[in-house]
Amino acid sequence: MAPITTRIAEGFRRSRNARLFGLLSPGAFWLLVFFTVPLLFMLLISFVEKGRAGGVKVPLQVTAESYLQFFNACSSEFSGPDCNPLLYINIFANSARIALIVTALCLALGYPLAYFISRQSVRSRNILLLLVMIPFWTNFLVRTYALKQVLAESGLFNTFLLDLRLVNQPLELLFNETGVLLGLVYGYLPFAVLPLYASIEKFDFSLMEAAADLGANNRRAFWRIMLPMTLPGVVAALVLVFVPVVGAFVTPDIMSGGKVEMIGTLIARQFGSSRNWPFGSAMSFIMMLLVLVGVVYYLRSGSKEERAL
């Protein structure tokens, strides 16, 4: 009788299913056990009652309390008279607003930059692309910290402005929304430039000349020809910036020192000082659903545009 390993090897050679199973099972197992099941478990936790000192109440008690609390922050018996029922919804809306501003800024700065890079000689193009990529390899915390240091009240930027007498007193660029916006643009701009560049680089610029020949001015040719044809890159950039920004925790926490509340900081707090795991789970789930719906919608509309062209 052949050794067991040889027999297994023989089985793999003969059967397509055995090979498929062998290749697939580790990945499927890992994702199922350490991603899909935890997500479903989080959904379950969002529907149970919270424990007194964090965690959940044992035995489990099913309740929709966390979701009620999200839609009406005053639903708890402990809420005071000046309680704002829309507290949590406002924080979600505010995060979406911040993420939209950051995404718009990243696109507005990133598109011209990607265009500029694509019009350079091969040599300088490679150097500029490397400069865009280096932040990806750089620790995100280190980068955020570097910016924070420059923007501080006694930091280099304010010292510079004061020395030039451009301002009379240091600008407040930290511990407020400005700081968070600057930090987020700083962190996520490279994420926008790369997909934009990939799209613009493939664009056939003779089409712009053709449009000019047919009487379109620069602006019209851009809006009617170039932008629609590079839209897949714009959509990719939009998703790549909006999704991490809307759920950001590190940047708002560091740049505002906890003063600007975003979804990420709100959720994280439920697992720290607020000790309300079910509520944190419910908000995570709501955020995930909103993000997924948005992404699927944008990817669909993006690929539709592409097909139409």
Binding site: P26, G27, L113, V239
Partner: protein, 286 residues
């Protein structure tokens, strides 16, 4: 603008458009300079002030390596660095192997659940990181550990293994996407040719498929390594009371700006630049 276009659109257009284009390209260059300045000045300043001889991070008073010597005697930091390295190495190796296998399987075989599995592979990339961190925190502490406790009698706690498990889970999709992209350009006729010439399936895989996929696999591995070293959020929810480099830096950064953090950041910057150069050199060789 090419000569043909100028001729066919006539003189009027030419005289009108030239200045516009010039202003446009000036604005584009300015935009590029401002953006690269914005991206790189803070980092250069951070490096500069790591060599300052006072605690000031606004005025450079003199050169010193004091903060670096302090770093090398910091035991907390050494423990964090060690944990980061172990977690990054383990999660990179495991996720690169598993991610590549998954990519090969889904590239070759179509089956009933392949759509579901693919969606599951993209999900960790698409959803905000904090969701995955929380889901894993809940799963470990409220499901897996209680179950293990009832089986083996002792309750495990979060630590290096749970962080590594989490990092493998978020790295598999990234490796998968990169290797799968490489497979999409793959010329399967090369495999057929090898088999026509008498190679069996395993030899074909070893001698033809794997070498051709190698750039994708290495790229995926490098990506996994960087992501793991860089991750704060998922680590923060799965670490228990151990520190990795990012969680350690985070605890320092929250306290304030100090030259020690500058020195530590500069060391990390140097290491990641080294990695970039190494990978560029490897690509050039190929």
């Amino acid at each position: 603008m090419s000569a043909e276009a100028t001729v066919s659109t006539g003189v009027r257009v030419r005289t009108q458009r030239r200045p516009v284009i010039r202003i446009g390209s000036l604005a584009l260059s300015l935009n590029a300079i401002v953006i690269f300045g914005f991206l790189y000045l803070p980092i250069l300043i951070l490096i500069l002030f790591s060599f300052n001889n006072t605690r000031s991070v606004a005025q450079f008073t003199g050169f010193s390596t004091e903060w670096y010597t302090k770093l090398f005697s910091n035991e907390e930091l050494q423990a964090a660095a060690g944990n980061s390295l172990v977690i990054a190495l383990v999660s990179t190796i495991v996720s690169t192997v598993i991610g590549t296998m998954t990519a090969l399987a889904l590239d070759r075989f179509r089956f009933r659940l392949s759509g579901f599995l693919e969606a599951n592979l993209y999900l960790p990339i698409v959803i905000p990181e904090i969701v995955m961190g929380i889901a894993l925190l809940l799963f470990f502490n409220q499901a897996l550990f209680p179950i293990l406790e009832s089986v083996i009698g002792a309750r495990p706690t979060q630590g290096v293994p749970t962080v590594a498990i989490a990092h493998i889970a978020f790295n598999i999709p990234f490796v998968y996407v990169i290797v799968r992209a490489r497979l999409a350009d793959f010329d399967h006729r090369l495999e057929e040719a090898a088999q026509d010439l008498g190679a069996d399936e395993w030899t074909t895989f070893k001698r033809v498929t794997l070498p051709l996929l190698m750039p994708g696999i290495l790229g995926g591995g490098l990506m996994a390594f960087t992501l793991s070293l860089d991750d704060y959020l998922i680590t923060a929810f799965t670490r228990g009371n151990i520190n990795t480099m990012p969680t350690y830096i985070y605890s320092l950064v929250r306290k304030g700006v100090t030259p020690e953090i500058n020195a530590l950041s500069t060391v990390l910057l140097g290491l990641s630049m080294g990695l970039v150069l190494l990978s560029l050199a490897a690509q050039r060789k190929r």
